[in-house]
């Protein structure tokens, strides 16, 4: 299960970060997390994969994860040890994919506007509370929609379906 409290540095990006930026298609002849990880954000920020540390947080603007349905995108982010993505809003396929594979995501437009790259963040995932320790600001993200709690409670879509199949 995901840790309730997590902390790390912010990597701040703009609006419309697309899945080709998150993981270019030229690397999609694999879906192994460790093979995807070194190419994450390669065309948008070549320093990301080599410098990101376990616990770090991606902070972005609107429509994060737009474009292709490739689940390789949240997989590549998660495989780099990113503890959470905070965005003003998400493209719907990325949103489903992140939940399905257990990458924590929070929706919070105010955080994206106020957090700077490199800020130290502390995040209470269950409460949706984001603390920027560098500038002292605190943000409340929208809680996950109620209907997803069944999938959360099972620990992702795979165990959720496994339970459903066992019930049948």
């Amino acid at each position: 299960m995901t840790k309730r409290i997590t902390s790390g540095r912010a990597w701040v990006y703009g609006d419309n970060v697309d899945t080709d930026a998150i993981i270019p298609a030229r690397y999609l002849s694999t879906s192994v997390p460790e093979e995807l990880a070194p190419h994450c954000m390669e065309d948008a920020d070549s320093s990301f994969a080599s410098s990101v540390r376990v616990g770090d947080v991606i902070v972005a603007g609107a429509n994060f994860g737009c474009g292709s349905s490739r689940e390789h995108a949240p997989i590549a982010i998660k495989a780099n040890g990113v503890s959470c993505v905070i965005a003003a809003s998400y493209a719907r396929i990325f949103y489903r994919n992140a939940i399905n594979i257990g990458l924590p995501i929070l929706e919070c437009p105010e955080a994206g506007a106020a957090i700077n790259s490199g800020d130290e963040l502390e995040i209470d995932l269950a409460a949706g509370k984001i603390t920027d320790r560098t500038n002292g600001k605190i943000f409340d993200a929208a809680p996950p929609p109620e209907f997803l709690r069944g999938i959360f409670a099972s620990g992702g879509l795979v165990p959720y379906v496994r339970e459903r199949l066992a019930d049948k």
Partner: protein
Amino acid sequence: MPRTMAEAIIASHTKDAVSPGSVCQVRVDFAFANDITGPPAVEEFKKMGARRVFDPERCAIIIDHFTPNKDIASAEQAKRARAFAREQGLKFWEVGRLGVEHAFIPETGNALPGEIVLGADSHTCTYGALGALGTGMGQTDIAAVWALGETWLRTPETIKVALRGRPSEWISGKDLIIHLIGMIGVEGARYMSLEFHGEAVAEFSMDDRFTISNMAIEAGAKCGIFVPDEKTLAYAAARKSRDFTPIYPDRDAKYFRTAEIDAGAVEPTVALPHLPGNARTARECSSLEIDQVFIGSCTNGRASDIETAADILRGRKVHDRVRLMVIPASYEVYNEALDRGWIKIFAEAGASVCTPTCGPCMGGHLGILAEGERCVSTSNRNFVGRMGHKNSEIILASPKVAAASALTGRVTDPRDIG
């Protein structure tokens, strides 16, 4: 309660209450993945403890992205997809007999009016052209659908797109959808359904409608649906792989908002790098020199797209500086291009004609761009690095603009080539 297309289709597939924002457990009519998303979907399917897909006639894997296998890794992916398809008896076609999924699935009658069709590929929204609710998901979601035959959908709000007037002969579905995305923005329909109405709809062929629905996701939409008319029903009836029941919106359905477009005023339109909403008229961009032109993809690789490009290129030569790649989106299209002499026209013009594949659209293979190169492409996305080097550029355009640009070596309005 009166319903939009999306609401009515969801209501016909669920026992849950349907209204915008409501989450419904829906029955799924057809669910598929491709050679990139299929193999990991198979892994997730096994991890779920599933043994058989819910109905092999309603599940498929289409190997189209990196096929014919571009390297050993992609050959292994196709091999894993093929093995699972054989094991489960689900629908599977070999290279030489299929095509780019969103051209091939409608051709084979595997997406039909009134249905819910889900694919592990974002351009699954293409089937809105048939009056179906088609939408893309990730591979784990599709694995779950294969296991259960159902999934959850959030009922989308609907934007009514009223297409007024009469488009000129130079305007295709591509010009119209780029124009619309330019109007409402790349997240202007995020999580929503686009529903196309208006007298101009009748002027657009099924191929044009597929193009329009295909790019609904480039405005963030979950789906982009046309109300079935005579053209839809004739297309579906001639190709259906199972029975279907068309669904229509209620006259007094409630829409989130209405966007009006005078189709008669739309000009040949392109999208400049690096967003599909970066719309300009082709004439505004006529100073931009280009290195490559790609005509094909799930957006614009259908018969009328290839025909219109052949008409412009007939008896002419591709510009010395330019390489033109033409990739019919399926073997049905490829064979028609052979029969009707279009491939000969391309060959004589100095173009390269390739076997059906997604190929260069997402930088897979066959026509990757080098640093600093610029390509006019009939595909759907012009994101940074999408077709190759991160410092290459993609300009999205209709087949007419693409063919005209291949002749002149710069972005060209087809009305300007004489």
